[in-house]
Amino acid sequence: MNREKIEKTLFILPTCLFLLAISIFPFIYSVYLSAFQAKLTKMHRKFFIGWENYQILLFEDDVFLTAIQNTFTIAFSSITIEIILGFIMAKIFFEIRHLKISNAIRTISILPIMLTPLCVGLVFLYILNPTLGIFSYIVETFFGLEPIAYLGQPIPAKISIICINSWQWTPFMMILLLAGLMTVPNEQYEAAKIDGANWYHVMTKIEIPSILGFMLLGIVLRLIECIRLFDIIYVTTRGGPGIATEVMAYFTYRTEFRSFQIGTGSASAVIILIISIIVTTIAVTLLRRVERDADFS
């Protein structure tokens, strides 16, 4: 090995060691533990059971299977809402970008992203309280409807979680889409105007194709975030009522830190990781294809 190669190796060695210590080793250890029946209070008596934890989780445990289903239901619904509302908001901010106040409004509108999900969950817990919450008051006073337990009934609870999640992350999608809209050349708008295109044509033929890459990037990032969704569930519903809002991350937490079943919890964490990798790979492949198509067009 020549001197230059040794130097290069020495330069990347600390990073490799760092990655090995904080990412790769815990992951490998997690995979190792997932093959055992292990409880935190008696780790010295853990015993090897092979694939059994995976088999139970993927084929027998209806709570975990529901958690996978709920995670994707919440993810897809939230992201769809975020894209629609985010696009509308981005369009509004794009149209008023020349106004001095637009910067201030834009800053205020992204405040939800800056809040920690725990705080967001707590705030909505109070807002949605059936007897003391402002939402119940509004619904009762203005619409004459009896307040219900928004977080205590299966369907309303799921809808509430989707709304809370969307409320917090729509501004994120808005910022991405606004950045995309800013990249659309002004000439295209002028040409469309001369050709007599209406708003719908502008949106579908110019804007959406131009911002598709930004949109996909947002979807990828939000998908990863939604697969890890935990805090809001922890504060508001704890996966309930029943298992209506049980999601994968909360299931893993419960198994690891409430039941202290380290083997099952590790298996669940590994499954989440594999699902994340698959979903991200698909999304990134799509993203690259869109970018390539955009380059050719």
Partner: protein, 444 residues
Amino acid sequence: MKKIILFLSIFILPFSSASAVNWSEELGDHSGVDLKVQSIMDPYIDAVKEISPTFTSVTGASVTVEGFGYDGLHEKQIVACSQGDSSYDVLFVDGIWIGEFVEGDCIAPVEDLWTEEGTDMSVIAWDDYISSFAGQAIWDGKKQCLPFGGYWHMLHYRTDLFEAEGLEPPKTFDDVLAAAKLFKDNPKYPELEGGYAMNMARGSAAGQQFYEWIYSAGGKPWESNYPGSPDAYADQRGLYNSAESVAFIEWMQEMINYMPPGVEQYAWDERAKAFTQGKVAMINNWSVRTPLFNDPEISKVIGKFDVALFPHAEGASSVPPVGGWIACVNKHSKNIDAAWDYLKWFASPEVHREWVLTGAPPSRHSAMNDPQINAEQPWTPVLYESSLRAWQELRPRHALTFEVIETLGIEVNKALTGEASAQEAMDAANKKIDRLLKSEGYID
């Protein structure tokens, strides 16, 4: 004034010739030790903080009491134990966690400590503990911790409302249902949001609720567990889907119609708050929270409530739930001697009495029969009767208790929120709990 009386009654005790125990002789010198106590954030925690300086004056050890929520406390204690953490010296542990703590080798058994030390057993006064509660501190045939905060369930009801309607306090499930129905949405009582409130939140809250009621419903959770059973853990095959269990869940499904909106998310605090704020006519509640209903700072029902024995189904008898907290020495503590001294001092009959007079729950026969305690906590006679009728194996106490209760709580909550029928939910609960127990070899 109360503090002065408390100070005089406790502080001078070690030096008083009339004192039953000479604490200066019984306790060691622990000057310089900062004893850390890890506790649940239950209403008694202020009373623990209030009396602990007396221990400091006798032994020189300062005492820091830190409180946590129920689930958080369990999580912290087990994780700390698995790491051999010595941050806390004294652990207040829920009696039902005892099997898990013993299995994890987290605690130094008090029976070993008092044998090694040759402790004066009149300080421990084990026979003075009410047996249904004392049993919570025993596991593997050994006394592991000292019981101190026994709770029993009583039915709490609003005397003003019951008198106005000419009703007697409910004795049976049917009485409870009829009264709940009467008070729900009754225009005469617009401040009421429901007739009754129960713990219905998914997880521990709903799971524990099942165990609290099932014996009085005439059922039992598993084959060999019934009041008076010689060995409750001999046959743990589940009976969660027995006719009695399903009938009880169906009764709860009917009861939920007469409860406040949002009751599906009620746990201990929400249930007590609903009664304190005058929003429900009845609750079943742990006795530790009963003094709160007379607290002028938070209660709207002062002088308007009374207690009765836990209700029972027709043909069954009342088996009031028992629970509460036991004090254990952290096996990994660096101050085991000081921790043991604190335990025997704190749980002793005379300090227990003073602690109870500061607003904490009585757990000993002597405290239950104490005239001053009876005068200050007028519900004590009903509480005492409840404690004598209670069954110590109310909930499982083995190492899987938390998981079993959580699993059951999810299924019960599913039945209560309409995600499953009572039979479906309890069939699922039985299957899952049996599988759990099999995985750890509790059943074949």
